[in-house]
Amino acid sequence: MMERTYAGTCVYCSDQGYLTELEQWTPEIGKEIAAEEEIEMTDKHWEVIKYLQEQCKNEVALSIRRVGKSGVVNIKEFYALFPGGPLKKASRIAGIPKPVSCI
């Protein structure tokens, strides 16, 4: 565990850069993490982030398959929105733990 500063706020992160306390997350923090991942956030991106956070709060284990069936985004769009590892990058931006799924 370590501390990092995003959008002027000090937050707790895992050593791989995932927020450990979702309550500390704000959209501004998400935006700065997205910039680190070289992603410019659009309304569609935020929609996905909101969905991931809701799933996390409901303690649902996330997978690409589940996101694809969410009705929010299909798998192809998900890869296009967050290129180079969509589930990991989107989870980081959403302030939720690193996904453990292989699917």
């Binding site: 690409i64 798998i75 890869y79 589930l87 292989c102 699917i103």
Partner: protein
């Protein structure tokens, strides 16, 4: 090849599926999908019996091998009894559904949507009299071994035979 910081990053996985038992097909699909999830390119070359995994008429009835599979921990003679493959396959499928692992047809759709390339082996198709219409619509094309190796060019590419 080493890059500047001395690490050898995996950039591309070239998987060769030569057997279409359920266990082998899933191992291959999970490796290909897992690569895409990490931002690594992946391609699958379906050859010999591996072609069954992309054959429309066969892909939904792939089985777990109960004979000659030491991982089953049952005597080979028992593995050959009628119904054994069906029981083992049913058990594996129900376990996988619980783990959110999709069935073969859906998995192929996920792979395509994720950017994994699916290639059929030309020689194996000729050998088994299979035409492109027999194969899934998501197929990216038919390749020779030479074509496949040409696609494996570049640093950080790994070729795995399953």
């Amino acid at each position: 090849m080493n890059n500047n910081n001395g690490s050898k990053k995996v950039k591309k996985m070239m998987l060769i599926l030569s057997k279409a038992t359920l266990d082998n097909a899933y191992a291959c699909f999970i490796l290909a999908n897992g690569a895409r999830m990490e931002g690594i390119e992946s391609e699958i070359f379906f050859t010999f019996f591996g072609l069954e995994a992309i054959q429309k008429s066969k892909l939904e009835s792939l089985h777990v091998a109960t004979v000659g599979n030491p991982g089953m921990h049952i005597p080979t003679m028992l593995g050959g009894l009628p119904g054994m493959e069906a029981v083992a396959t049913k058990m594996m499928k129900s376990k996988m559904e619980k783990l959110d692992i999709p069935p073969v047809d859906e998995f192929l759709e996920i792979l395509t949507a994720s950017g994994t390339k699916l290639w059929a082996c030309k020689l194996a198709m000729d050998m088994f009299d299979i035409s492109e219409e027999d194969l899934v619509d998501d197929l990216d094309g038919v390749l020779t071994v030479g074509d496949f190796y040409a696609r494996a060019e570049g640093d950080g590419t790994h070729v795995i035979f399953i």
